[in-house]
Symmetry: none
Subunit: 223 residues, 4 copies
DNA sequence: GATGAATGAGTATTCATTCAT
DNA sequence: GATGAATGAATACTCATTCAT
């Protein structure tokens, strides 16, 4: 008969001041958190935010619902964390690659603009592949959730900055006037082409599109 | 003796044969249908498919829920119709523009490749503006619903074909090798840049980005 | 971002493979399940399947709607379970009674055919009394739901078999030729007379009808 | 935009004072009414009261919903009328048959009790066949609607009276003591056996069951 | 710390009935 | 007299979240 108070209603929409549960210090706890985040990331990307129910996430992670709520205040927060981690990973990939390109230039003394652009086009595609589906869910969320938007904006700016950094290094070999704007254009165009390839995997000649895309970037950027 | 309602799970995956309620012939009915579709398109783009509840749509359209269901078998179908109409409008804009560009070329005898590309970059942006937000919802839906995917694929192909048509006319003034792949690249890149501008309206220098984008297309396409 | 509910049409016709939620092992859970089933049985028999809304059942059971759905996948399944349990109870009553009649015969060595028939007529009436109203709802459901039909058919066959078993024991004292057909006739006739009495309780002379009915059975069966 | 008042909620449950729309005198109107009733009877028996929606009935009858409501105040009333007509038809069949049996006895001077009973068992089965499914719906309705119950009770009494009349004529050749109670028993047993045969059509040996049933009645009734 | 039973507001959809045209 | 567009209360079912054990 035991009636319980029960709570309902969706999560608060706006909210920038998410009282994020602090990263646990205990090792076991940290591992639990990790397993939950991995399960959540999988499910969010497989079936989207809504269809990835907390029950499902708990099951996939191998814990009870209660445990989920011991580690995250709510589902939205889990998504935000997954989002943040994912964007950080992608950014890292980009930064490491650009570091390498710049180092190569300094070491070899050769201005391989074409090679750098090739890497941007092909390499970034690789970086994005694993979580391609998550992308869609991310962007949708970003449109509806201020904090997600803020998180995304932060990483996007950093990515743009990296591309600007790369272009600045090759400044003399480049014909672009407004590097800032160009970085945005390149960044965005890249993204969409990747998404297109992911969505139509197997139905489009990936090589042809990618090489055509690289050609476009080269003819645009390289002197 | 009462009614018995149930539940149908999420977007039905299969169904290519949506038993679309036939377009009404009566004038009053046609107007109602239009009002509902307009309200639905608004709400879908404002708040996404899920949050745009049927109750909300009905209220916005100025009718009762029952009326919604007299005109559409279910919410998904409404979305599909909105999607189809939106894509058709965008396609028409593109086609009309390309018709005009080609006519101008024939009449003037001048190969204004740059002007044509400029139009692609700027004009399409205009075409997309009104329902920019709907785009995201569309793409998400497309990932989860076979029929939405089919509808989208149909219009996308037609749009690609138009761009190919345009490029073919200017064939001699163009340095692109694989016109098919190039059309895809241009089409996709265009899309994303537009979406970026919509999302960051007011925060980015739209003119700079657009002109940089046009520059990229020109340097890529024009001989 | 909200949930999305749908509609499932009426009783699904097909499905013999009802994914019955497994009988709970936890004690609390088992008790909850029982309370829900009892409430459901009450309401189904009081007001029929349709008018017994899930909300009403939950209220009567003293739980929330959510709990109902934690224990049963849907309302139909609850009915099917109630049906199965009810038929099992009735069958048990019949079997125990027949066991006793047969044991008596063996112990006493007397062939009290009349007494056995009397029991069939009167005793079965007692067995059916508690859920008499449920009967009607059952039969209606059976006409519309394949699985309900299968469940009912299974128990009916077992009941027929019991009657055949009884008659076989008294074979020598019986003038019936086709025992199988006779069992059906007796079984069915019995049922309807009971239902009539239940429905017209207080308006008909129950004793007179029952004794007349027993007389009919006796004159038909006993040599 | 035109909001209309709309009405909803189910029909009043209790209500014995149904303001029955008077039988129309105009010929066209009478024909319309008949077509509606026929369509309704078909659908009620095919799919039950609830699933036979007014829209469906209108469509089947070849009229608009509005017309339905010009002839009947509500759906329940339609059912009640269908019920009444059906029970009247069945009763007539019984009365005519019994008239014939009695006439035969007077003409021939022979007391063919066995033949009379045979007719009761087999003939009534024939009479019930066409609307067998309606039977179930009827009985369900009768349990939930006072007026339906009253209508049914009226015809049932008249049928019982007919059986009593028949038995009284054959009084001397009959061993039954309480003719009233016997009539009920015979009547009810008959009903259920018919229903059983209808439900299990094709799976049971109809002849065997019917002849066994007739045998039961004979051994019970005939001296 | 962990568990999972319980909560209940929220959502899509149906259908008898009304009434303006 | 007929039509059928419009109404809206009613109903099954979901799922984020709580909290007693």
């Amino acid at each position: 008969m035991a009636k319980q108070t029960g709570r309902s209603g969706r999560f608060a929409r706006g909210g920038a001041n998410r009282p994020r549960i602090k990263e646990p210090i205990q090792k076991r706890s940290r591992e639990t958190r990790r397993k939950i985040l991995d399960a959540a990331a999988d499910l969010f990307s497989e079936m989207g935010f809504d269809r990835a129910t907390t029950t499902l996430i708990a099951k996939r992670a191998g814990f009870s619902i209660g445990s989920i709520y011991a580690h995250f205040p709510n589902k939205r927060d889990m998504f935000l964390t997954v989002l943040d981690e994912y964007l950080e990973r992608t950014f890292s990939y980009l930064r490491v690659g650009i570091d390498r390109l710049i180092a190569q230039k300094h070491e070899s003394g050769i201005d391989d603009v074409a090679g750098a652009i090739e890497w941007l086009a092909v390499g970034l595609h690789e970086a994005n592949k694993p979580n391609a589906k998550l992308n869609w869910e991310m962007f949708r969320f970003i449109l509806m959730d201020e904090e997600a938007d803020a998180i995304h904006a932060r990483w996007e700016q950093k990515e743009n900055a990296e591309i600007v950094r790369l272009m600045t290094v090759f400044k003399d070999r480049i014909k672009v006037r407004d590097i800032e704007a160009a970085a945005i254009v390149i960044h965005r165009a890249t993204h969409e082409v990747f998404q297109y390839l992911t969505k139509n995997k197997g139905e489009v000649d990936e090589q042809a599109v990618l090489s055509e895309f690289a050609a476009m970037l080269k003819s645009y950027v390289a002197k």
